[in-house]
């Protein structure tokens, strides 16, 4: 492995998920990236990790299953799978998710199968997901370049060049130069993001008003006692970790039921192995009441229909239009990257840590506090070069937060 790959593996394990002595680590990784997974494993053990468990995935196997398996299997999440994720989460494992999927891997699959599988596994894995979303467990999502993903991002390049260029883009986005300076660069970057957090938290906004020429004209209400977060989290046990590498966002929780207007997505969304283009949401009282797309509409509608909470909002994230990933001027068809190039929202579950004391609340208390509950959490991008975001405070005064896609402060 090259110096950059080694440094990237170390960044993910030692800084991203920050695996601790005596802790277990579950790595989700495609079989085609076994070399990288083995390197992550070696670094984890070097840090005194108790055990590394590999959750291998494979695009081709997933696609064959969705296309050809018996229809009944999509309504069931097997007990072993529930035990696997739930038990490791309860044991306090760290979770490292390495993404490399073909964004269109499930193109042509019956969207009903995907919807049923999403629902059955989402419901069965509810406890695991809740533990992770309230930061009982450290978790990090990173991306690995793969042939099919690279071909989608750089369709005009030969395969090998496309893959090499995608790796370079990943390294740039995660601040890996191969000289061992990545962690230091991330500490500096995180400190900058946390300055924005402080400013935004001090405003105590009631709502934000989004507008741009694409057609977005949308007011969203923020949860009372909301907290903006950025640049990394801490587990409930006090261990710092970085959930997303890269991350350029500052994010908080909307108030369920608060918000109205029209949202026009500014980028395609890769969801469940399909690319959804031209998304438009009409929102009334915080609920998506109309959802249309030029491509992949059924996948989108199915995702919103998984449960009641899926058509309410779970996250508000501000990303400057001049972020490094945005400046790369590339559509990645991978939310981990695209969401860090543009302001975005998520429909579905809210993060408990985005309101004061949320991580210590029961689910019912969180719902009472205005946080949305769902088995879904899907980010979609709205940021543009001309986006304006204007905040309204409790006393009705208005504050410009973003102008022409960038923070004014």
């Amino acid at each position: 492995m090259t110096d950059k790959l080694q440094e990237y593996a170390r960044l993910l394990v030692a800084f991203g998920v920050n695996v601790q002595r005596g802790q277990k680590l579950v790595i989700t990784c495609a079989v085609d990236h076994a070399v990288f997974a083995r390197a992550c494993m070696a670094i984890a053990y070097e840090r005194g990790c108790a055990e590394v468990i590999l959750n291998w995935t494979d695009d081709d196997c997933a696609r064959q299953r969705y296309l050809k398996a018996d229809d009944k299997v999509f309504d069931v999440c097997p007990e072993w799978r529930v035990r696997y994720f739930t038990d490791y989460a309860k044991e306090g494992c760290a979770f490292l998710y390495l993404l490399s999927e073909d964004p269109q891997n499930l193109l042509g699959v019956d969207p009903g199968r995907i919807a049923r599988a999403t629902k059955s596994s989402g419901e069965a894995l509810r406890e695991y997901r809740e533990l992770r979303m309230k930061n009982e467990n450290a978790w990090t999502i990173g991306a690995l370049a793969s042939t099919k993903w690279a071909a989608m991002v750089f369709p005009d390049l030969p395969a090998a060049e496309a893959e090499a260029l995608l790796w370079e883009r990943i390294f740039a986005a995660v601040r890996v130069n191969g000289d061992g300076s990545a962690v230091e660069a991330w500490r500096a970057h995180a400190a900058k993001l946390k300055e924005r957090v402080k400013i935004l938290n001090d405003y105590r906004f009631k709502s934000l008003h989004y507008q741009n020429a694409l057609g977005t004209d949308f007011v969203i209400e923020l949860a009372e006692n909301h907290l903006w977060e950025a640049g990394g989290d801490k587990t409930t046990g006090g261990v710092p970790f970085m959930p997303n590498l890269p991350t350029e966002e500052v994010f908080t929780a909307p108030k369920r039921g608060g918000g109205s207007g029209l949202i026009v997505a500014s980028m395609p969304l890769s969801l469940h192995g399909n690319v959804i283009e031209g998304i438009r949401f009409v929102v009334r009282d915080g609920r998506i009441v109309e959802a249309t797309a030029q491509k992949g509409e059924e996948t989108l509608r199915n995702a919103l229909a998984v449960d009641e909470g899926a058509s309410y909002f779970g996250e508000i994230a501000l990303v400057p239009y001049d972020s490094p990933i945005s400046r790369s001027n590339t559509l990645y068809y991978e939310t981990l990257f695209d969401e860090n190039a543009a302001c975005h929202f998520a429909f579905g579950e809210a993060y408990p840590t985005n309101i004061e004391g949320g991580a210590d609340m029961s689910k019912d208390e969180r719902i009472a506090a205005g946080l949305n509950d769902s088995i879904m959490h899907v980010d979609f991008m709205v940021g543009t070069a001309d986006l304006s975001v204007v905040g309204t405070r409790a006393d009705g005064t208005e504050v410009v937060v973003m102008q022409d896609g960038n923070f004014v402060f």
Copy 2:
């Protein structure tokens, strides 16, 4: 994939494990052989398989875990793993095991860790193993050439040549020419093996006496109502399958507690990632009372000490010295191959199907009928070019079964 690889995949899925419409299939395969696993999956779905589940393995991850994980993890088989194998077995899944391990993958690992892991997983997976051993489930073991395994078999060849040659040996052993004739060849071969079964069953031997110049001088008693088997099994549901590809053996169950003498193994034994050489067993009343080896003795002793039944015998298998695999004059360091080049025994669990009505008996009934019970089942080779095997019938008459390593009939 080449024609030969395609034909091999088809042989394993459609003939070996003979997956049925509506049945599920669990494939165990190294991540480095994902291309082959995907091909097996496609063939299974083509046959109407309900779902193919991939149980991915990786030598490097296994070795790192054994060397570096916390000592406590080797005493526990996680609940998800028990549910995985037991639930799929109870559902009537077929199991395809694709072996490609480096025979020395765990060289240098603390043998105590291996012993404890063998015991904890063996005990936790008892129900799964029993279902499989009594043929509730169809199962097949096949082998895939890998770089490290090939380097061990052909140490004087460059890596690529060694791997290519090992593939050719595998294809020859499993009768794959790439012309689609493999299944037909296997049907003819199985019929020939079944002729031997008939002859041996008709003799109703009480015991067999093994002798050769290597030093083996050993009498082993056969279970009452024993059945010789060969050339494939049937599941309890009546579906034919071929547990091992290749297979050249005719095998039956010894009577627990019956047998005495000295056994000198004729080949090294690859067991739990270690190669054991120069094995000698002193046997009294069917029990291995002394076990020595020139190399890997601790691994051997640990295997025999896993439970009480591990030092008793579970299988008697006759293989002519002029079998095709034996004539290849190669040591494969993989029991699936080496056991088909030489007469062998197994210490540990006996197959219920090797006595009349055994598959319908409870465990206690099988033990009462003289079958050995253990979480282990380890084949080791004793056949040589000068081996003689003489059977004794109920009336005391002696019948020469093998002379100079080959059947006399």
